[in-house]
Subunit: 330 residues, 2 copies
């Protein structure tokens, strides 16, 4: 029999790989393809723009810090006038993969989400009107909006559209686990490999699946046993008014989970070891051995991907028309 040609071998390998990959409940994160670089750059400026807050001090990046996994790494966030936020800040990294935004899914997409914190009195404490006036006052912004949106009219719709365009670029491909999925079995340790098997066998994948290892559905927090927390958030019932949605939250992504402590919507759990044990117990009714815990954590740490490389934007100066910040207004 004639040996297979290199091309034929490559095709067979590709078919085999894709059939194996198709069986995996977790998909790789694709590198971003930027098709509208000017909109993305404008969105980056706005993401880092502290003048979208009443104080002139808080930007999107304050609570979704791109130096620290797209979160503030606090139990709940610090808002205007140092108000204590109601819930743990979800990561902006790979957020586009979520079926909706916020823990309770009350925003349908990143664009709708971006308008929330700006006008939330406990977060950036501003208004959409003042945000628009602020950006509209600066000729450098006006020129960019005109370039990107044509008519040069600045609206909260355009502002949040640009922010969302930037946020869609904040993906973290090339994690060790993605390399493993692509066929490089030595990209993760034996411990992590065992952890992934456990992650599938125990049923974690029933909620944590897809490219973001989460974000694809809503689920009750405390499915088997109640979740004990002092946090008053009630979850999706706040959106649907449906009693069955009490304590139902969007399943969070596990991508970069090593970076996005503390965990759960109340941010009360600081270690991955504790987090996986709580999940196993209250969602699956299982106890993990010490070894299983270690394996699961090793797997979770293999989900840390390449962090977006961000060149800090230089923002245009305010002028006499720009609304002045009011950091110490009540």
């Amino acid at each position: 029999m004639k040996p297979f040609s290199p091309l034929a071998l490559a095709i067979i390998a590709a078919i085999y790989t894709s059939s194996v990959m198709a069986k995996e409940p977790i998909e790789i994160i694709q590198p971003v393809m930027i098709t509208e670089p000017e909109k993305v750059e404008l969105g980056k400026m706005l993401f880092f723009e502290p003048r979208l807050s009443m104080s002139g001090f808080i930007s999107c990046n304050s609570c979704h810090n791109l130096s620290t996994g797209g979160v503030d790494a606090l139990p709940t966030s610090i808002g205007h006038n140092w108000q204590e936020g109601p819930i743990n800040s979800p990561t902006v990294l790979n957020a586009e993969y979520g079926l909706a935004q916020f823990w309770d899914g009350r925003a349908k997409d990143l664009k709708e989400q971006a308008g929330g914190p700006i006008a939330n009195p406990k977060e950036m404490g501003f208004s959409h009107e003042l945000a628009v006036s602020t950006i509209d006052s600066m000729p450098a912004y006006k020129a960019r909006f005109e370039n990107v949106y044509g008519d040069g009219k600045i609206t909260i719709d355009n502002i949040t559209d640009a922010i969302a365009a930037f946020e869609k670029t904040l993906v973290t491909p090339n994690s060790p686990f993605d390399q493993y999925l692509l066929g490089n079995k030595s990209a993760i340790s034996e411990e992590a490999t065992a952890g992934y098997q456990l992650f599938k066998d125990k049923g974690c994948v029933s909620c944590h699946n897809g490219p973001a290892v989460g974000g694809t559905m809503y689920m009750k927090m405390g499915l088997i046993k109640p979740f004990h927390t002092k946090n008053p958030a009630e979850g999706r019932i706040a959106v649907t008014g449906n009693a069955a949605d009490m304590n139902v939250f969007k399943v969070p992504t596990l991508r970069n989970i090593e970076l996005t402590y503390p965990y759960f919507h109340d941010g009360a759990t600081w270690t991955l070891e504790e987090a996986v044990n709580v999940m196993a117990e209250i969602q699956l009714g299982q106890d993990l051995s010490k070894q299983e815990t270690q394996e699961m954590v090793a797997f979770l740490k293999s989900l840390t991907g390449d962090q977006p490389q961000i060149v800090l934007p230089i923002l245009p100066p305010s002028n006499a028309k720009t609304p002045r910040p009011a950091p110490f207004a009540e």
Copy 2:
């Protein structure tokens, strides 16, 4: 007569240029030469490190924001627990050119300065001991300190040394005015050229001189007429105890002054027009015409140089040994 060789011409040109430049009270900002890139990179991480604050929320960049001219663009800064800072945040850009640091010069250099805000209960609200424990807890930081400082022992001395090394790279060369000084007379407008002449003729250069157009001396605020302010800062007397130093402050740099509003140590003046008129009146006993004001402002705006291009650092994750942030501790 034999024509001059190209080399001879270049030497004559250099001598001529340097003799012309020597007459100017303002010198160009030199581009930075980075000789210790690993120390600078470590310092950049620490500059953006919110875990150097009690809350885990405030970094050096919070009040010396490199997106906005190295300042927070607020009258006085927001500190731990939203405390109102005592004085306007000076820019970190070109700060190395200052004869000392802080408005009252109480720190002899950038390294000494860097330790101040970390432990100031009204600023980052931490302690040097906790700052060291925090950084020391993370293997990725330990490896970098070992690489840069040899013995791997992390101290507040090393931490502030690295921050200062990064800050020394934050220079803004190539402003239109620097191009003008280098011989390109059309790099600034006729209005700005007239403003520079005024700046010299009126006597502004007696304090605002050197590469940073300031920072070379201390001067009484309100030399001819008193400066009216609600800000209680007394200036250099706090350092020297000398009664003659009442209301004496370090002369601030005017580099990038268009970006570093609001002005003066109390941050109560928002426009350059108002600022130059206050200065002319209280420091020089002069009134500026509207045209003179415009010319002076045009000159000042020509001092905005190339802003440092900063790739946002990715910070290592906390672990079980890392002191936890206490954002809502009193």
